[in-house]
Symmetry: C2
C-alpha cells in the first residue's frame, strides 16, 4: 500500500525533466502524496527538483516542502528566489514556515518575510521566530480555532467555519475569555453533539492540560504521550493562549530523541545517511574512535609499567585482560542505561537518594559475587590455572563490577545535571574510561598479591 | 503543570484507605487525570488499589485501567472478580478491552466476556481477540464513525450524533459503500464547513491511506508518522472496513520500539523498573554478562596457546590487547548501528546490493588505514616500541577494522532476515564475538611476524 521508491522511477522522472516533458511529470506524480514526492525530489538534482516544484500548484509545493528534512531543504531552496519562497511561506502552517525560514541566511529571511502577502501570516512568523527550537514555543503553531466562553454553540459553529479555512486540521476548539486567557477546551465531537442553542459555558471542559512557551520539547512529548493528547495549547505566564502543538510534530520529536539516544550509545557523532559521501561517513565515526584509541594507548602506556616486572614473571596475566575489559564495559553500560531509564521516567515516584544508592550497591555486590565465584571456579578447576592467578582474576572482577556499577550510575546523573544527554554514558567514551579503570585495578591487585603474599 | 508523585502523597492515601476514609480519598483524587491515578495506584498494594477503584465511578475506573501497564494490571486484577472486571470491559474502547482480556487466564476471560452487558462490545471483542498483538489487527479498535457514500451532510451529522456516543474521540468519518467497502474519508472540519444539503459523494476524499489487518505494528507506525495521520483505517483483503488505529496507540508503539532497541544494544534481557526487587534486577543482567564471561574465558583459553611461546618472548604484546578489543567493539557497533538505521528507513531509496557493499568497504578501508597509521606513529615514534611490535599492532588494527566492519554490516542483515531485532547486533553478544575475532587476528599476525620474519 505504501509507495516504494525505485531507482527506475527516479531515472524516468529525471529524464522527463531533461525533456521538459510536463505531461509525463504530472502523470507520474498525480497519485503520490506530498511526503512521497519530497522523498522522490530529494533524489534529484536541485535544479531538477526546482523545475518540478514550479509545475505543481503552490499548495502542493508547500506541503512537499513541509515534509523535507532540514538539510535537504536548505540545499534545495538555494535554487529558489525570495519571491518564490515567499509564495510557499505564505500558505505554510506557521510552525513549518518558521522552521523553513530559520534555515535561511538572514538577508533572504528578511526579504521573504517582507514579500509575504498574508499580513496575518507575517505577524505569526515574527511572533514565533524568537523561540528556541527545542521548546514548546519553538514547536507551536499560531493557527488554531478559539471561541469566547460567552458564545453559543451556534455561534461557535459559525466561528469554526470562519477560522477553520486557515487551519489544516481542527483537533480541539480552545475556549478563552475576553483577555484571551485559556479557560478550557471543547471537542468538535461535543460541538456536533450539543444542542444548537446551548452556551459554550455549559459544555466546555475546564480541566485542560497546557504547556508554557519555555517548556522543553522533551517535556511536551512526555505530557502529550502520557495524557494521550492530539493537541496541546501553549500559553504565556498570564495563561494567555499563544498557540498549539499538534501530535504529528511530537511524533517527530519522539523519533528524533530515540535516534539521538542510540547515536550517543553507539558513538556516532554526526548524523549521516546512506547516500552521504564516503568521506562524510568516515569522518562521522572518527572522533569517538580517536578518543577510544587515545584511551587504549594510554592503557598500553600504563600497562607498560608492569611489563618487565609482572608480565615477564606471570605471562598468563595477559590472558585475562580481555575479561577485565569486557566485564567493566558491559556492567558499566547496563548500569548507565538503567539510570538513564530512571532519569527519563518523569511519572515515576522519585525515591530518596540514599535508599536508592543502597539498592544499586546491593545489586552490584550480588552481581560481583556471582561473577567472581563463577570465574574463579572455571579458571581454577577447569582451566587449571594456579590458585594465586585465579584469585587475582576473581578479586579484580569483583572490584571491576563494583567500580563500573558506580561510574555507570553516577555518570548519567552528572551529565543530566549539566544538560548533556545522559545516554552518552553508555557510549564509547565512558566505556573506554571504564576499561582503563578496570586494567588499573587488575594490575594493582596482581602487583599486591604477587609481591606481598 | 504536570502532576508529580511524591512519597508523602502515596502515604497519605494509603493511610486514608486503612481508615476507610472515603471523603479524603475522593478529595485527593478529584483533580487528577486517569493517567496520574494509575501511576499512583500502582504504588499501593493490590487490595488498597482495589478499594480505591470501587469508590470511583465505572467510567473513571475504566480510564484508569486503560492507562495501566500490562504486568501491573494483571497483578491488580487478581483482586477483582469477573463481574467487576466485566463492568469495566463493558465500556472500555474495544482495543483496550482486548489487551486487558488477553492478560487474563482463559477461564476468567471467558467468564468476563459472558458477563459483558453491551452485546455489541462483546461481539467487537470476539472479533478482535484472534489478531496477533504486534499487527494492525492487534492495534485496531472497532469503534469508529462511518457513513454511506450516498448520504447527505445533514444525514451524516445525524449519523455522527448517533454513533459518536460510543467513540471516545472522533478523528475522521470513514466513507463506505453498501458492502462496507472503504471508499474514502471526510474530516469533521469538512463536514462543519460543507453546506447542509450537499452529498457526501461530493465532499469526500478518496485518496485514503489504509492498513491491512496483518500489517506489522512497525509498518503501521511508519505509515502514520510518514503521512502525519491521526487515525488509520484497517481493512480486510476485500477492502472492507474493519476498524481504525488511533495515533495515541502508535505513539506507544514508537516509544516501545525505541526502548526495545536500546535494551538490545545495552544488553538488558528483561524489562525491569526501579522498584523491582534486587534479585529481579540482578537476574535481568546476568544472561548477557554470562555470555560475555564465557566468551572472554574462551578468549583466555585461546590466548593460552601463545602463553609459553609469544607472550613469554614478547610480554609487550599484552599491552595492546585492550586497543585491539576496544577498536573491534567500537567499529562493530558503529557499522551495525548504521546498518540498523538503513534497514529501518523504509522510505529511503533501496540501492543495489553490490554498490552498497563497495561503499561500506571503502569506508572501512579508509577508517582502517587512518587508524593504523595513527597508532603506528604513536607506538613507534612516541612510545618507542620496536618496529616489529609497532607493525604487528597496526597491521592487526587494520585487519580488525575491516573484519568488524564486515561482521557489523552483515549481522544486522542476517538477524533482520530471521525476524530478530537487528539492534541486537550492537549488543554485548556480538561485541564479545568481535573481540574474540580481534584477539585471534592479533595473535595470529604476531605469530607470523615473530616466527617467519
Amino acid at each position: 500500500m505504501a509507495f516504494e521508491l525505485t531507482k527506475e522511477y527516479v531515472e524516468r522522472l529525471s529524464q522527463a525533466v531533461e525533456l521538459r516533458d510536463e505531461s509525463t511529470i504530472r502523470l507520474e506524480l498525480r497519485d503520490l502524496f506530498a511526503a512521497d514526492i519530497s522523498v522522490l525530489l530529494d533524489e534529484l538534482e536541485g535544479p531538477e527538483a526546482h523545475y518540478i516544484l514550479t509545475l505543481l500548484d503552490t499548495e502542493t509545493g508547500a506541503e512537499i516542502l513541509a515534509e523535507y528534512d532540514s538539510d535537504s531543504r536548505r540545499e534545495l531552496l538555494t535554487y529558489f528566489d525570495s519571491a518564490e519562497i515567499a509564495r510557499y511561506v505564505n500558505i505554510l502552517d506557521s510552525d513549518d514556515a518558521v522552521d523553513l525560514l530559520k534555515e535561511q541566511p538572514v538577508r533572504i529571511r528578511e526579504e521573504v518575510i517582507a514579500l509575504i502577502e498574508d499580513r496575518e501570516q507575517a505577524r505569526f512568523i515574527l511572533d514565533l521566530l524568537p523561540y528556541e527550537p527545542d521548546t514548546a514555543g519553538g514547536l507551536m503553531q499560531k493557527e488554531l480555532v478559539k471561541i469566547n466562553v460567552r458564545q453559543t454553540v451556534t455561534e461557535c459553529v459559525e466561528e469554526i467555519r470562519r477560522q477553520a479555512e486557515d487551519v489544516e486540521k481542527v483537533y480541539t476548539v480552545y475556549v478563552v475569555d475576553d483577555d484571551q486567557i485559556l479557560l478550557g477546551i471543547v471537542s468538535l465531537k461535543d460541538i456536533i453533539l450539543a444542542k444548537r442553542g446551548s452556551k459554550i459555558e455549559q459544555i466546555y471542559d475546564d480541566d485542560v492540560i497546557y504547556a508554557s512557551t519555555y517548556d522543553s520539547a522533551e517535556d511536551v512529548a512526555e505530557l502529550m504521550s502520557r495524557y494521550d493528547l492530539d493537541a496541546l495549547p501553549v500559553v504565556n505566564v498570564q495563561k494567555r493562549l499563544l498557540g498549539q502543538i499538534t501530535i504529528d510534530d511530537v511524533v517527530d520529536v519522539i523519533t528524533e530523541q530515540a535516534q539521538e539516544d542510540i547515536a550517543a550509545i553507539t558513538g556516532v557523532s554526526e548524523e549521516v545517511e546512506e547516500d552521504d559521501s564516503v568521506w562524510k561517513i568516515t569522518r562521522s565515526r572518527l572522533p569517538w574512535l580517536g578518543i577510544g584509541m587515545i584511551g587504549s594507548l594510554l592503557a598500553a602506556k600504563f600497562l607498560g609499567i608492569f611489563e618487565h616486572d609482572l608480565l615477564m614473571m606471570v605471562p598468563a596475566l595477559a590472558l585475562f585482560i580481555p575479561i577485565i575489559g569486557s566485564t567493566g564495559g558491559n556492567v558499566g553500560i547496563q548500569s548507565s542505561s538503567f539510570m538513564v531509564q530512571i532519569l527519563s521516567d518523569k511519572s515515576a515516584l522519585s525515591g530518596e537518594f540514599w535508599p536508592r544508592m543502597l539498592k544499586i550497591l546491593t545489586v552490584a555486590v550480588l552481581k560481583g559475587v556471582l561473577i567472581a565465584a563463577f570465574v574463579f571456579l572455571i579458571t581454577y578447576l577447569i582451566l587449571s590455572h594456579p590458585l594465586k592467578l585465579s584469585m587475582v582474576v576473581s578479586i579484580s572482577l569483583m572490584a571491576v563490577v563494583l567500580l563500573s556499577s558506580f561510574t555507570g550510575t553516577v555518570t548519567p546523573i552528572i551529565l543530566n545535571r549539566y544538560g548533556i544527554n545522559p545516554s552518552v554514558a553508555s557510549g564509547p567514551f565512558i566505556t573506554t574510561a571504564n576499561d582503563f579503570l578496570g586494567y588499573s585495578v587488575y594490575f594493582g591487585i596482581a602487583y599486591l598479591l604477587y609481591h606481598y603474599w
